[in-house]
Subunit: 356 residues, 2 copies
Amino acid sequence: MEVDAINNDYFKSYEDLETHKLMLKDNTRNAAYREAIFNSKRDIEGKVVLDVGAGSGILSVLCAQAGAKKVYAVEASGMFKLALDIVRENNVEDIVQVIHSPIEKVTTAQIPEKVDVIVSEWMGFYLLHEGMLDYVILARDRFLKPNGLIFPESATIYAAPCSVPSIYKNWENVSGVRMESFSRLLREQSFKKPLTEAICPDSLLSEPEVVSWIDLREVTTEDLNEINLRHVAVSKKIDTYEGVCLWFSCCFPIPTKPSNLEPVTLSTAPDEPETHWKQTLIVLPNSMKVEVGSPICYDLSMTRSSESFRRYVLELTMLDPEEIEHPEFCSCFMTKCILVNAMLEKYERGEGDGAE
Amino acid sequence: MEVDAINNDYFKSYEDLETHKLMLKDNTRNAAYREAIFNSKRDIEGKVVLDVGAGSGILSVLCAQAGAKKVYAVEASGMFKLALDIVRENNVEDIVQVIHSPIEKVTTAQIPEKVDVIVSEWMGFYLLHEGMLDYVILARDRFLKPNGLIFPESATIYAAPCSVPSIYKNWENVSGVRMESFSRLLREQSFKKPLTEAICPDSLLSEPEVVSWIDLREVTTEDLNEINLRHVAVSKKIDTYEGVCLWFSCCFPIPTKPSNLEPVTLSTAPDEPETHWKQTLIVLPNSMKVEVGSPICYDLSMTRSSESFRRYVLELTMLDPEEIEHPEFCSCFMTKCILVNAMLEKYERGEGDGAE
């Protein structure tokens, strides 16, 4: 009954098996890749594809189904055996070649050519957590032909201040019992370790801001060492500011003309169907009341951990709205922004230069 | 970011905190206890209550709110500190006395009297897993007055054969890719370790059978050492038999007259609102087609583990319908049952004794 070891060597642990189950059950994820690959059939047919971190081999099979001439499915873990089975099960063993190797150690004997297309599902929580983007960059630089395609081609990280009912409000009354003391423990914990949680779109206090837009055709490993955002969000409602919500979306390449098909986007936003990535919440140690127009100012940084380049340290710093510069056309209710906006409007109407 | 230790001593680990969060978020659970306690206000008002394994203290606070004169909240873990905070937060510190001790080591100095009521939330997955029922029995025998009340008063374990789409059918086509190889890995794993999963009521193949009915007023620790069921279920649909689904319900005491209030039941059945217990699934290594009337015969045993008395080993043995005796009035489609039923009906009509 209490078996933690698993008697196959596909997975290192029971948790590992569960993680893959969770990912493969994520139909939003699977369907986005399938649609993107099939919408780009013209760009894949007869071409050579490299699947970076192939896992179960699902993306390699999809590319073979879409007409690829050859797919190199590179997988470093014991999962490569599962990929072998799944490739055979789908009768694409003549097209898909599973390579059991870390991508950085693949030899030219194993992949003796440049590839037309790279596919990879490398995204982690808030995009970068435990992400494999560095490996995709490495594979791109080494194996991708000039103007080759990358699935997905770009990724965007978003942030928005939010309320976090699961940490705050829900504990004010638990079947008639006040549990503020438990809420406090959860806050202490989640300030140290961001939450992975599906949040209701109503919990967002403002429009989202882009933290980073990453073009996979050009991004370098160094670009990913540190990502910073300073933002003045403006609350659109009366609520409590309790944290910052992070999510991401990925864009797949625009299918070659004459196809009329749209490029596919895989979004993990709160108002999109839930994925296994859910959203990431950085929770504040104390809540703060906001009104319509309240400025919510913060610095957000994502810095590669010095201990492991695959991990990131997220830091959220609350800023005093009085002390930092607000952007032009800031719609917050502070006198300085109302005055500046009035001035700017006046200039726009041509009244500012004393022309009257 | 990657903090596993938590810098308070309420919980042993981050997982421990998450487990309590999950339980306290289970509103079906909380609401059932609240309703049962408040429906029995007449039986609690002015009385002495013992809360076995008080955890956060939520049940103790509810009993105090319902008018208990005194509540002993016994908690062995570091959680007792949270219980102290929550008791204070709800202004019932004059009524609830938190005792930091395993129940079996509580001294007569700590609880110098017999109690009128025991409350406890001791139920684990499939009722008995990691359960604390033995501790409730111990507390009952030592502290409960004759005819004292126990919340809940009884518990029933149910079983029904079922299909398990999450292990079988869902892997036949994952966005156009066959993943039978992954399904096989999941089956290997789940045959060793039962799944905790919310199953759709449609997945049940037959009516449920009672595995065990446990009367908390009388049950002994020995009664819980081994629980066995031999059952001939009859499929009510065309489907695949892929496992056995287990769940439980708990009944709270009947409120004292003249109250017209019904006793409360907390059910974790597939057709009831989901709880954190979900259902427990024992998965077969291979699926088996069934039709309307197919007999599904199995032995199910729950045996206390020799390594730890708080753990159980679940065993499911499939039996050959040809070889075992079916119950009277078995509605399966086998010739022997059809013949026996015809005979029994004939006797019932008074035709069997040749009276005509």
